[in-house]
C-alpha cells in the first residue's frame, strides 16, 4: 500500500461507512510493504471510523510492517491484532 494506490483502500472504507458499516478490520496478510502515504491513509480512515462511532482493527502484519508502526509510534494510535480472526473477534 503506497503512494500510487493508497486511495483504493480509502474509497472502500469510506463507501462502507456510507453504507452503515462502522467496525472495520484492515488485514495485511497479503501486504509486503507500506509507505508513509499508506500510513497516512490509515490515520485518515481511523478518524472517519471514529467519527462514525465505530472501531478499527489492523491485523496480519509481518515483522517489517510492525516495525514501521513502532518507528512512527502509530502502534500507539492503532489496535493491532495478531490475526484477522482475532481482530474480528475483538469487534464482535
Amino acid at each position: 500500500m503506497i503512494v500510487s494506490n493508497r486511495q483504493e483502500l480509502k474509497e472502500v472504507v469510506l463507501n462502507a461507512i456510507e453504507d452503515g458499516t462502522n467496525r472495520v478490520v484492515v488485514d495485511f496478510s497479503n501486504t509486503s510493504y507500506i509507505d508513509s502515504s499508506g500510513l497516512g491513509v490509515l490515520v485518515s480512515i481511523s478518524k472517519k471510523i471514529r467519527e462514525a462511532g465505530g472501531d478499527l482493527r489492523l491485523s496480519g502484519m509481518n515483522d517489517d510492517l510492525r516495525m514501521l508502526f513502532e518507528l512512527t509510534k502509530l502502534d500507539t494510535l492503532f489496535r493491532i491484532a495478531d490475526s484477522q480472526a482475532a481482530a474480528v473477534q475483538e469487534l464482535t
Binding site: 503506497i2 503512494v3 510493504y33 509507505d35 502515504s37 497516512g40 512512527t72 494510535l77
Partner: protein, 147 residues
Amino acid sequence: MITPIESSGPGRQDEALLVRVPSSLEYVEETIAMVYEHCLACGVAEHVASFRVRVVLSEALGNAIMYGNAMNPEKYVLVRVDVRETVVMLQVEDEGQGFDPSLVPDPTTPERIEEIDGRGIFLIRKLVDDISFNERGNAICMTLRHA
C-alpha cells in the same frame, strides 16, 4: 512503460541502473518493481530488497513526483541504483527547487501523531544506513547495507 536508460546488468563490479521516470504516480509501482528485480539480480538480500529498498524508494520517488516536480508532465525524475559489494545506493533527483530536509518536523510527537502526511523523510532516515542531499535539496542519496 519505463525503460532503463542505462543498465550495466548483473555480474559487473559496479552494477548500475538508471531510470528516467515521468512525473506521474502511475509509474511508481513499475519503477519500484524494476529496481527490486535489479537488486535481486545483483545479489541484494531478498529481505533488504523487498522491504527497505521498496519503502524508501517509494518515499523518495513519491516526494520527487508530487512535491519536487509538482506532477508536471514535462519534468522527469532520475532514479539511479548502484549495487556494490556490501551496499546498495539509491539516488533520486527531481527538477524542482529543492527543500531543506533539516526543516522537516518530527512526525512522532503527540501533536503530530495524527497528521496524515509528513512521515516520508522520517521513515527514510530510520530505514537507511546513510542519507545525504545535494546542496539544492532536489536530490537524495540513500545507502543501505545489504551484506
